[in-house]
Homo-oligomer: 136 residues x 2
């Protein structure tokens, strides 16, 4: 069983075939899929799995902090199973390709106290935009 499922089971999740398949799809390809892309791949393995279940399952994984939601383009959300390794994203403005990247330093440290307006900061997401070698 994948690490992901094992962690979820440890939190009281029922281990259903549907959840297993969603986890396998996320673990299997290290790309950033949309919910409907996850559903399409899940259907290959479990033809009767419903869209609602895929949406529910992804949402729960996000709530439990096992998967990250990435809003890349204002269209469909994408799901990133790499939640336990801090990283940011680099997106090609031409073809939409996404790479995980690791900038130096902590972006939160770059925000001075007088720019925090009394907020308690919990995180920072950095999205780099550019053109990949193919689209240049």
């Amino acid at each position: 069983m994948s690490d992901l499922l094992e962690r979820l089971r440890g939190r009281g999740w029922r281990l259903t075939s549907q959840r297993r398949v969603v986890a396998e799809v996320l673990d299997g390809e290290h790309v950033h899929l949309t919910a409907d892309e996850v559903h399409a791949r899940a259907v290959d393995r479990l033809p009767e799995i419903s869209r609602a279940t895929v949406y529910n399952t992804l949402g729960e994984m996000v709530t439990l902090g096992e998967v990250l939601e990435v809003s890349t383009d204002g269209r469909a959300k994408r799901y990133d199973p790499n939640a336990h390794h801090a990283h940011q994203h680099l997106i090609c403005s031409g073809c939409g390709a996404i790479r995980d990247v690791h900038p130096q330093g902590d972006p939160i440290a770059a925000l001075p106290a007088n720019e925090r307006f009394g907020f308690v900061i919990s995180g920072a997401e950095v999205t780099y935009r550019g053109l990949c070698p193919n689209c240049r």
Copy 2:
């Protein structure tokens, strides 16, 4: 006429009443409105303006670099007329409030060459998350 409209006119835009109203709405409130919120406010001034025109107009302003699109929560895109002053966003996880913030340093400089994968980087967006004083 607003600076925004003047710049757009300089680029060959026809100055229609609809575009004037959209620009006025964006200039008038320095908040980050969704397209439908812009439409609702535009209807107050020009009752027959259509949703499609508001979407078109905002999209063109974004293409021309006069307005920024901000994907805050994976739902509706928000539009930020402050495109000519570099800034980032701080979003309250509780109530969704958005503040413009100005972190120190250039986030692009934090991405080492060996993490660029041959991309030509054109920009970086930083989204800080946290809880505002009211939601704490």
